[in-house]
């Protein structure tokens, strides 16, 4: 099956091989609750904006396939816990094509446009996460 590299980010922990799953964006607490109760969670790659554990972290014990964040670092709470659940995670993902959309605004925060851009590119798509490199995680569309 053809693969297309769609984004790279900080790899939370080295994992041999790759994992595949369908991306689901959780943007609101209600999305988190819904996914926690969905049996498909175990074939889902979570996409979320921040790296704080109290948001998407509640889903991790349900064993999603992987995690992608738009912000945050491997040393964040979410990064630490995902590593210990052995869930491959790519944080602060950067798409290969930004379509001229600024990632950060003048205030230093991630722009809503960039978040929407990433969500549009990944939400609902089947992806493969490659976390073999110790530092860089890669996201492929399949």
């Amino acid at each position: 099956m053809a693969q297309q590299l769609v984004g790279t980010g900080l790899n939370v922990g080295r994992h041999e091989g790759t994992v595949r799953g369908r991306v689901r964006y959780v943007g609101k607490p209600a999305d988190v609750v819904k996914l926690m109760r969905d049996p498909e969670v175990t074939s889902t790659v979570i996409l979320t904006q921040g790296g704080a554990v109290t948001f998407a972290g509640a889903i991790l014990p349900k064993r999603p396939v992987g995690l992608i964040t738009i912000e945050g670092a491997p040393e964040s709470h979410l990064g630490i816990v995902s590593r210990e659940f052995s869930i491959p995670a790519v944080m602060s993902v950067q798409l290969t094509s930004d379509d001229g959309i600024a990632r950060t605004g003048a205030n230093g925060l991630t722009t809503a446009e960039y978040v929407q851009h990433v969500v549009s590119a990944l939400d609902g798509k089947l992806v493969e996460l490659d976390c073999e490199d110790p530092d860089t995680g890669r996201v492929f569309l399949i």
Partner: protein
């Protein structure tokens, strides 16, 4: 593999050689502070900083006589402030931005707690010092040298760090000047110094001063933990790390997304050269109303584990002052080869070992349920309430363990309105959201501006100067 061969493959042990400068976790990054040379992260940053400080205070280990001195000089306070500013950058920049939480307004509640703690803590600290004596405060710190105690490096560190952050916050807001509130600053720094001295037992105040080691357990405890660990392979390792991760997750939720719910000790270098880490998670804390969701869980769970350093080619293992293990390479989980689980049912009961099977059977489900319940409680809680609750997890949660152990917590609740905001601090709430003050202005002014808000005290300042009038 012989022990000798094994040790030769453990690069991380080189970090403990006196001339070793460590490796950079943030290559190319440096922190600027006043006239000091650029300060990188890690062992080298600590060394450059301490070599360039004005006084002898932080040049080497402290003695008890140093701690007994009633106050710091202005130059010493300035050296401490310089070290605190680098230390905060060194530890917190590693995490980078966590970005938006989507649930817990962390930056807002942190700023509110800094504001409140700066006004309220000094009085409690002075009172405790008067009641216990400075030697008693040292002993209070020393009493935490066992696993699963909130009298630990993290909580002691917080008392110093948050005082400094509160001072910086008011300087950012232009409410205080660098030469004001000096008796309060001095009292807080002395209280933190005595606790950290007693707890660490090595004369250092920060983990970074000792190459990122915090091995603050009495020998009998470290031996007991070492002897308790059993080999973990395949499924048993997955069970162990899942239980540990679940307990960590609950501890984060119970403490509203901050680190007060867990801390690491170590690295304890074992006979075979591998490091042992002792991780404690607090899975119930009865002073918080939302902890009722964890009412059937033990107060704390401790996980001792051995990492195979050669297997993961461990280059450096830091247990930073906030009690978090950071390694290079990052992923140590796959290299955990031994472990044991311990439980403390109440904050003041004995720690007892439980088998992994018993711990998993008895606690894994309830820990997950409690996590889900706290999460749902958060989703139903208005932002303002979360900010106030979060501010209390910092302002009360950081100092409470010392009050509780000293038998003074109930007294301060009943007679000193511990669970209250100072009126001046409460006003800060309304500024937090304006123009992204808490989310952008504060972090920017703390770490990236050319004129840092960790401002030195002017040399002509008077140590008695508080702030008596807001005019």
């Amino acid at each position: 593999m012989s022990n000798e061969t094994s040790r030769s493959q453990q690069q991380y042990l080189d970090r403990y050689q006196p001339a070793d400068e460590g490796i950079r976790f943030m290559p190319g990054a440096a922190f600027s502070y006043g006239q000091l040379p650029p300060l990188p992260d890690g062992i080298l940053g600590d060394r450059i900083l301490r070599e360039n400080l004005k006084t002898e205070l932080l040049k080497g280990p402290l003695s008890l006589d140093d701690v007994r001195r009633p106050r710091f000089t202005i130059d010493e306070l300035n050296d401490l402030t310089a070290y605190w500013s680098w230390d905060l950058w060194d530890q917190l920049s590693l995490r980078a931005s966590e970005g938006s939480s989507g649930l817990v307004p962390r930056q807002e509640y942190e700023a509110l707690s800094f504001a409140n703690a700066f006004y309220r803590w000094p009085e409690f600290m002075i009172d405790m010092t008067e009641r216990l004596g400075i030697d008693g405060v040292v002993e209070l710190g020393r009493s935490g040298r066992e696993p699963a105690s909130k009298i630990n490096m993290l909580h002691a560190w917080c008392l110093g760090a948050v005082t400094q952050l509160g001072r910086a916050l008011y300087i950012i807001m232009d409410r205080h000047k660098p030469d004001e509130f000096l008796p309060e600053l001095n009292a807080a720094m002395k209280f933190w110094q005595a606790l950290a001295y007693g707890y660490r037992g090595d004369g250092y105040l920060w983990s970074s001063q000792d190459r990122y080691r915090t091995c603050a357990l009495d020998k009998a405890w470290s031996k007991r933990l070492e002897d308790s660990m059993e080999p973990l392979k395949g499924d048993t390792r997955a069970e162990f790390t899942s239980l540990m991760a679940s307990a960590e997750l609950l501890s984060f939720y119970l403490h509203l997304d901050n680190r007060l719910g867990m801390y690491d000790l170590g690295p304890f270098v074992l006979g075979n050269g591998n490091p042992m880490i002792v991780r404690s998670t607090f899975t119930r804390e009865d002073i918080y109303s939302w902890s009722m969701f964890a009412r059937d869980l033990p107060y704390a769970m401790t996980f001792a584990f051995e990492i195979d350093a050669a297997q993961m080619s461990l280059e450096e293992a830091r247990v930073i002052s906030i009690g978090t293990l950071m390694t290079r390479p990052r992923n140590y989980v796959n290299a955990i080869v031994k472990g044991s689980v311990w439980v403390r049912d109440e904050w003041d009961s004995e720690l007892r070992q439980v088998s992994l099977e018993e711990a998993t059977t008895k606690y894994l489900g309830p820990v997950g349920d409690a996590t889900g319940d706290v999460f749902e409680w958060m989703t139903r809680t208005p932002s303002r309430h979360l900010i106030e609750s979060g501010a209390f997890t910092y302002y009360v949660g950081m100092i409470m363990p010392f009050m509780r152990k000293a038998g003074l917590y109930d007294h301060y609740c009943e007679h000193e309105n511990l669970w209250e905001f100072d009126e001046r601090a409460a006003q800060v709430y309304y500024q937090l959201g304006r123009n992204d003050f808490a989310r952008i202005v504060v972090p920017t002014r703390l770490f990236t501006s050319s004129e840092t808000s960790f401002a030195p005290i002017p040399p002509d300042a008077r140590l008695w100067r508080s702030k008596y009038a807001y005019v």
